[in-house]
Amino acid sequence: MAKMGFDAHYRGAMMVARHLVQRGMEVVYIGNRLPEEIVRTVIDEDAQVLGLSSLSGNHMVMVPRILKLLRAEEVMDRVKVLLGGVVPREDARALLAQGVAAVFGTGSSLDDIADWIEAAVGSGSGAVHT
């Protein structure tokens, strides 16, 4: 899980991280990073899901860059990219079209996010990595 650029609010990301840990998943939180560092961590940790949190609105700049790097590193097909936070509808549509697997905006429940991950990762590569 990562925050992009200077996005400063981490509470939502931490709530999700805590909840996923409660649900038996392993979460690596790396804080505010450049797209290159985020993608490097996905590879090093062999992550099944990349959670990106956006409250400042920088996702339209940063997410496409991350997706491009994931494709360049040929890991796009083994990681699901989730975007959470304050995401306008048209942004969500555009990013889903570019390869983001799901967007969880304002008002999403923690259980919905955990359920989605269990379903998505379970169908892909087996059990949730703990």
Partner: protein, 539 residues
């Protein structure tokens, strides 16, 4: 709409305040038998200031109405300032983008998506000159919402250099800097964070400098509001504000300054949240504890040294994206709590805050909410109108007891800075926040429009974007580097490094550096090179 409930539903069966204080069916004199009015309440304007810091409270002076402004470039925000002043605003409340707030240059690779978003971008003295062009800064009070000590000093230095360039003496400047190391190390996150002890030291450098040169400036504002938005409950909010004030006072005294030379200018910033009576009790208890702790630890002679002055912003976290007009009602109750609690100034949050930057209609409604409160409800006619209420006095006593227990716990951990370094404060806030989230998810805690009385109207989020700010700031920085005396700038940065390495106050060196053409980012890089790279203990 919700179906099988009647119009109100039923009251939650959990009879506790939001911070967990048990509430009885009714209160009597027995519940406040230990209250000694002369000792514990006094009169308004008299120790222990439970009843407010002014004798005549709002009769003498109404609270200040202060609304936020700041976006895009200095020029764009300057236009907004002029508009606000033309329309009768008495103060300016300037917000900066996260890049500026953290003291990075706008052309930093991480900054691309954030320049000018959610606040104005400032990279150098020239930007600051433009930001306040034509604004009578010797006349209006200016709040610079610079949260993080890493950048607050450098940007404040640019503000002081701007005033000097215009021939305005610093003694005439009135305003507030947030400058709160908990904002930098606990409440918010960013790339390359300073070590808490160093961030704290930088914040006290500003307090020390202002004590010597800016008698009308509030050099720090303990941002309880933001502690609360990050997860704290009312007790934690008040306790952390007081602990922070005590820590600053300790450090200033250690540096050899008598308490009365700086304490009157320490200021605080609280939220006003949903639980109306608990919020009122929070303000009252906080004033009492603050007074008693300052008396006990520092024995000031000036009565102003132990008075807790505070600004209130109504809660953003309590507002919902669902059914946003409900937030007008919420914010009005929040504002009522602030006024019943004796706030010195007030910002009412806009009803669309959970969806976007405030629209004109929402910002105007927020202003009108304040005006209705002042002119129609009559709540400001008398000071501390809830004094003597069995319930409110009981809650005030209980808040005081819990705040004191929390302060004792922080002392045991070695003080506030140590409690931040160990991650204790982070875990406290995240724990409270997570519990509340689960209580909302389970329906144990009701939020209208979110987990009850819901409808199917989709949430429409709207983001303001100012695409031109990045390009403009990159050009500004390029021009700065091209036109400045590179030798002079490098020398000033070297002097700054020397001060930061030793114990010399960093602010005079920051002023020299921005005047010599150093960018804000270059100044703050010095701090990061010395004490950056701290990992926030979040998980």
């Amino acid at each position: 709409m919700s179906h099988d409930e009647d119009a109100l539903g039923s009251l939650a069966k959990d009879y506790r305040t939001t911070s967990g204080i048990p509430v009885e069916q009714a209160y009597t004199a027995d519940d406040i038998a230990d209250l000694e009015p002369a000792r514990d309440l006094g009169l308004p304007g008299e120790p222990p200031y439970t009843r407010g810091i002014h004798r005549n409270m709002y009769r003498g002076r109404l609270w200040t109405i202060r609304q936020l402004a700041g976006f895009g470039t200095a020029e764009e925000t300057n236009g907004r300032f002029r508009l606000l002043l033309d329309q009768g605003a008495t103060g300016i409340n300037c917000v900066f983008d996260f890049v500026t707030n953290r003291g990075f240059s706008s052309d930093h690779p991480l900054a691309e998506g954030d320049v000018g978003q959610g606040g104005v971008a400032i990279d150098c003295l020239g930007d600051m000159v433009q930001l306040f062009d034509g604004i009578p800064v010797d006349d209006v009070s200016v709040s610079l919402v610079l949260s993080n000590p890493v950048g607050a000093g450098a940007i404040f230095a640019a503000y002081l250099a701007m005033a000097r360039r215009r021939g305005i003496p610093w003694e005439k400047l009135r305003g507030t800097l947030q400058n709160d190391f908990l904002m930098e190390t606990v409440v918010l996150t960013a790339p390359n964070i300073l070590e808490p002890a160093f961030s704290f030291r930088l914040s006290v450098d500003v307090v020390e400098f202002c004590m010597q040169h800016l008698p009308q400036w509030n050099p720090i504002s303990f941002a309880g509001y933001n502690y609360r938005e990050a997860g704290a409950d009312a007790v934690q909010e008040a306790a952390l504000v007081i602990a922070h004030a005590l820590a600053v006072a300790d450090e200033m005294v250690r540096r050899g300054h008598p308490v009365d030379s700086f304490a009157p200018r320490l200021s605080s910033f609280f939220t006003a949240d949903n639980d109306l009576f608990e919020e009122v009790a929070k303000y009252r208890a906080a004033r009492r504890v603050y007074h008693r702790m300052f008396e006990e630890r520092f024995a000031p002679r000036d009565p102003r040294s132990s008075r807790l002055r505070f600004h209130v912003q109504t809660s953003g976290a309590a507002l919902t994206a669902q059914q946003p007009l409900n937030n007008v009602a919420r914010a009005a109750y929040h504002a009522l709590a602030a006024v019943l609690g004796g706030a010195q100034s007030l910002h009412v949050s806009a009803y669309d805050e959970a969806l976007c930057l405030p629209s004109e209609a929402a910002a105007l409604t927020a202003l009108r909410t304040q005006q209705v409160l002042v002119h129609e409800t009559g709540v400001a006619r008398t000071a501390d109108p809830l004094a003597g209420s069995y319930y409110v006095e009981h809650l005030t006593n209980e808040m005081e007891r819990r705040i004191l227990a929390y302060l004792a716990q922080l002392d045991e951990l070695g003080g506030l800075v140590a409690a931040v370094e160990s991650g204790w404060v982070h875990h406290e806030l995240l724990g409270t926040s997570y519990d509340r989230e689960l209580a909302i998810t389970s329906g144990e805690r009701k939020v209208v429009g979110v987990n009850c009385f819901t409808d199917d109207v989709p949430i429409e989020i709207e983001l303001f974007r100012f695409p031109s700010a990045l390009e403009h700031q990159v050009e500004t920085l390029e021009e700065l580097r091209r036109t400045r005396d590179a030798g002079a700038a490098a020398k000033a940065i070297a002097e700054l490094r020397k001060a930061a390495t030793g114990r010399e106050n960093t602010l005079p060196r920051l002023i020299d550096a921005v005047e010599a053409g150093a960018s804000i980012g270059e100044c703050c890089d010095v701090f990061r090179e010395l004490h950056g790279g701290w990992q926030q203990p979040l998980l």
